[in-house]
Symmetry: C2
Subunit: 218 residues, 2 copies
């Protein structure tokens, strides 16, 4: 239906649109996609011709409904494959993104339906990101950054903001994983580091870390 490149642009615009109040800018897309602004302009014209984006010269783009639906479908595939890689093939959560980037372009509705069933209809991927339904709606979940929690509060890890390999490996090394319970014991004013209770252990965590970890508080 759509080329890999077109799909990647749609995905990039979709992600950028959530933080943009106006249209998404050419430069923002170029940076996200690691490409040149002129290449972006070329592609925006093509996507516009195909009614996937609303594009007015010099004014950035927004996705059309068709564009949003298509982007959601690609994200759905990406995240389902990530679940597969971690749950079934025993990959660790820092290894799956690049492979999912390829797998997300495999074209077969039946395949995704069967994969979804095989994985028992997961709602969140290995990084805690929501998996959109076939219809394109994203499951919501209350979550808050660890850095925004007050001393004495308790929560369960449900996601990461930064999904870089180095951050995920740091969490692994320190025994922090999705599903783990954390209590904020103490807040260090000087550098905003936190003392936390993790299972039976207690540890100190920098603000950098705490501001990239999502918890669900009850």
């Amino acid at each position: 239906m759509y080329s890999d490149s077109e799909e990647n642009y749609l995905k990039a615009i979709f992600h950028l649109e959530r933080f943009a109040e106006e249209g998404v800018t050419t430069n923002a897309i170029a940076e996200q996609m690691q490409t040149k602004a002129s290449s972006v302009t070329d592609m925006l014209k093509k996507l516009s011709d195909k009614k996937l984006v609303n594009y007015i010269k010099y004014q950035g783009v927004t996705l059309t409904n068709q564009g949003k639906k298509t982007a959601a479908a690609i994200i759905r595939k990406h995240r389902l494959w990530e679940v597969f890689l971690v749950e079934k093939l025993d990959f660790s959560w820092d290894e799956v993104h690049e492979i999912a980037e390829q797998l997300e372009h495999i074209e077969s509705d039946l395949l995704i339906e069967k994969l979804d069933k095989h994985l028992d209809f997961p709602k969140f991927d290995p990084h805690g990101d929501p998996i959109p339904s076939k219809e394109g709606t994203f499951p919501e979940r209350d979550k808050v950054l660890l850095s925004e929690m007050k001393v004495g509060e308790t929560g369960v890890c449900v996601g990461v903001k930064d999904t870089s390999s180095s951050f995920l490996k740091y969490l692994d090394k320190n025994g922090i994983a999705l599903g783990k319970k954390i209590e904020v014991l103490e807040h260090e004013e000087f550098d905003d580091s936190l003392h936390i209770q993790l299972g039976s252990a207690t540890m100190v965590i920098s603000h950098m870390i705490a501001s990239n970890l999502y918890l669900k508080t009850n």
Copy 2:
């Protein structure tokens, strides 16, 4: 490493090479790939530059060792994915080829290693075709076409020669599947049809069918 198109050409040449005494001809490749002879010539030059084929103008091509190794790796991926689709996702054997055609181009050695393990290191795909090892060697298996068996002989279905959806569906409909035991009861001289014993049932099978079904005789 190599583009999807290059990989597809290598695969086509690999399959054609097994029935060609001389080099594989341009026209044969064009037919196999559903493309034009001129496109084939273009690609043969590229593959030759990359030392994947031995190509002399007007004399057809053969794969180099590097070409053979690469082709085997792609076939390995294709067939492992087919096993996955049938064994884990519950596809039927007539639905998997097109999807495997896409999945075979996913690039990750680790993925294939883990998939292989997940599937418990299968040696044959859902159609009975051998899955080459990581090193590129194909497992052998004694097998004979049902049409070449003598009256009274017994064997177990281990593969199909024709893998078209219509043939596979015919087999499904008639309860013929890999692993099933078949005995040749009678040979009809007039049209070479066969009366066979399949489990507790007896049935008549045309020569067309019998000459596309491989059995292992003990």
